[in-house]
Structures are given as structure tokens and as C-alpha cells.
């Protein structure tokens, strides 16, 4: 089997954790990061504490990977935060945290990750959300940061294609993680009713799209965003 090197941000829990465990189970090497330590232990796993919005921390993490592994094959920009609030009552600090973690973090990892990916090519996966195309009330800032990530995906796909780096994006529906635990049940029901397929997303749905993007056979696919659930 072709052992690949995955860098997965925000993998202490939720989708990121599930992805790390999955790719480790497939025999790949995984480097994960999050703002606090991880209890995931595996011989092929390294975890670093890293705030994705901290430029120096991101640079040192990528330097660590370059020194140890020489390359990154797949970068999964999973780290993100959500916050529901009416725009009239959204504090600036919340706005800033969302922009920093979701948009700036994705940008920094694309920039630094691509610097070592450019020698062997690679695959970058970013995370949007169905809240972006659905224009969900209460998610103006969160959805806007994700819409920005979709645009970042498209343009960086163009700029990085000459380095054989493909950049794509996935827009999951709600998946049962901490990210949506504070969202009222009726809001989730309403959201699900606007999907073509009316159910919560599963980790496997996300893995399936990522595997599709990273497949050798998908070498003509870049700059795309796939939304789950028929949104």
C-alpha cells in the first residue's frame, strides 16, 4: 500500500478525530493538531498543539513535518468554530475569532502546507458548510467565513495547479459533533428539511467525499465544493 502523510487540523475530537483514526487504520501517517493535547495514541501518529490562526505556530508545525517526513500528501483543513448569533448582537470578538480560526487558519495552512507540497504535489481539502448556500439566519459570520473558504479554494486551486496541488472543499450538513451541540433542536430540524436528503450527516459521508477528492483518479478535479445532503 502507498503510505501517505496526512496533516489534519482540529483533530482532537469530532470529524477531525474520526478522520485521523480512519487514515491511521488504513496504514497512513497522520499528523494532527489542535489547541489542546490529544489522547489519540498510535505509532503512526504525531500530535502538535497549535492555534491554526497563529502564523508562527503553523510555520513551526509545517517545519517539523518537513524535517521529519519531507512531505505532506494530504492536508485536511478541518479546524473550525461555529457561533450562532443575530447580526445585531454579534460581538466583534466573536466575529474576529470566527474569521481567525476558520478563514485565517485555512489560509495559513494552505500557504505553509503548499510550500512543502509543491515538490511532490498533493491534495488539500477545505471545509465549508451547508449554512453558506442555505443563508441560514443566525449564522451570518460563520457562514461568511465558510463562503470565503469556498472562494479561497477556487482561487488557490488555480494558483497551485502548476505545483500539482489540487484544492477542493466539502460542505457538510450538520454532523453530531460538539460544533452543533448548542444549536436548538428545532433549528436543526428546519435545516434538515431544506436538504434533499433529510438526515444528519455521518462521519462516513465526509470521509467518502475526501477519499473521492484524494483518489488518483480525481487528478482532474480541483477548485470544487461538494455539499452533502443535496443542498
Amino acid at each position: 500500500m502507498n503510505k501517505k502523510i496526512y496533516l489534519i487540523t482540529g483533530d482532537r475530537k469530532g470529524i477531525g478525530r474520526s478522520l485521523s483514526e480512519y487514515y491511521l487504520s488504513k496504514g497512513h501517517l497522520v499528523i494532527g493538531c489542535s489547541r489542546s493535547g490529544s489522547d489519540l495514541v498510535h505509532k503512526n501518529y504525531d500530535h502538535k498543539i497549535c492555534d491554526v490562526a497563529d502564523e508562527n505556530a503553523v510555520k513551526y508545525l509545517v517545519l517539523f513535518i518537513r524535517k521529519k517526513h519531507k512531505r505532506i500528501d494530504v492536508l485536511i483543513n478541518n479546524a473550525g468554530m461555529a457561533s450562532m448569533n443575530h447580526i445585531l448582537t454579534t460581538p466583534v470578538i466573536t466575529f474576529q475569532k470566527l474569521v481567525d480560526t476558520n478563514f485565517k487558519g485555512t489560509f495559513l495552512f494552505i500557504r505553509e502546507g503548499s510550500k512543502i507540497m509543491r515538490k511532490n504535489g498533493g491534495c488539500i481539502i477545505n471545509f465549508s458548510t451547508v449554512a453558506s448556500p442555505l443563508n441560514l439566519e443566525g449564522e451570518a459570520i460563520y457562514a461568511s467565513t465558510k463562503a470565503a473558504i469556498e472562494k479561497l479554494t477556487k482561487i488557490s486551486a488555480h494558483e497551485l495547479s502548476s505545483f500539482n496541488i489540487r484544492v477542493n472543499c466539502i460542505g457538510p450538513t450538520p454532523v453530531l459533533t460538539d460544533l452543533i451541540k448548542a444549536v436548538p433542536k428545532n433549528k436543526i430540524e428546519k435545516l434538515l428539511s431544506s436538504q434533499a436528503i433529510k438526515r444528519l450527516g455521518r462521519f462516513d459521508d465526509v470521509k467518502n467525499v475526501i477519499n473521492f477528492y484524494c483518489s488518483e483518479k480525481s487528478n482532474f478535479i480541483t477548485g470544487q465544493t461538494i455539499f452533502l445532503g443535496g443542498v
Binding site: 518537513r66 510550500k115 509543491r118 502548476s162
Partner: protein, 94 residues
């Protein structure tokens, strides 16, 4: 080997590979803009490779394309001597 000489060697190797011909540089040699041999994509690659070179040679982890460098009246990437000055400045400030 002296630091400046190492940087010039690095630049010569980079340009030789990039332009597919043997390149010899002096401090006055142009690099980017105003008749320099680098196009904008080659400059991007040079900046990334220079960052790696500085990490490996001098153990400094810096971002060369910072706002200050990009807004200077005279680009540090326009000429070999300007680039050497700029790199020394970055290394010393690290």
C-alpha cells in the same frame, strides 16, 4: 564559506535550474523586474526556496514575503545586493 557567498551560490543554482542555462551573478545582477530574469511565478518559487534555505542553513524560520518587504520603494527582490541586505536584516532580527 561566507554568508553572502552562500546566498549568491544558492541564487546561481536556483537560476541555473529555473532558466536552464548556467548563470553567474554579481552583487549588481538584476533578479526581478526591470529586465531581471525572474518572472512572477519564478519569484514565488524563489521566495519559498529561500525560506527553506534559511531554515536549513541558519535555523531561522521566517516569512520573506512580508508586508514591509512588499511595500518598499525598492524591492528587495530586484537585485542581488538588495536581496542579500534584506536577508541579512531578516536573519539578524530573528
Amino acid at each position: 564559506m561566507e554568508k553572502n557567498e552562500k546566498i549568491i551560490n544558492f541564487l546561481e543554482e536556483f537560476l541555473t535550474e529555473e532558466l536552464d542555462e548556467t548563470i553567474k551573478l554579481s552583487l549588481d545582477s538584476k533578479l526581478f523586474g526591470g529586465g531581471g530574469p525572474l518572472d512572477s511565478m519564478a519569484l514565488v518559487t524563489l521566495i519559498v526556496e529561500l525560506e527553506e534555505f534559511l531554515e536549513d542553513e541558519y535555523n531561522v524560520n521566517i516569512t520573506l514575503a512580508d508586508e514591509k518587504a512588499m511595500s518598499r520603494r525598492t524591492s528587495p527582490f530586484s537585485r542581488v545586493s538588495y536581496l542579500i541586505d534584506y536577508l541579512n536584516e531578516k536573519i539578524n532580527n530573528e
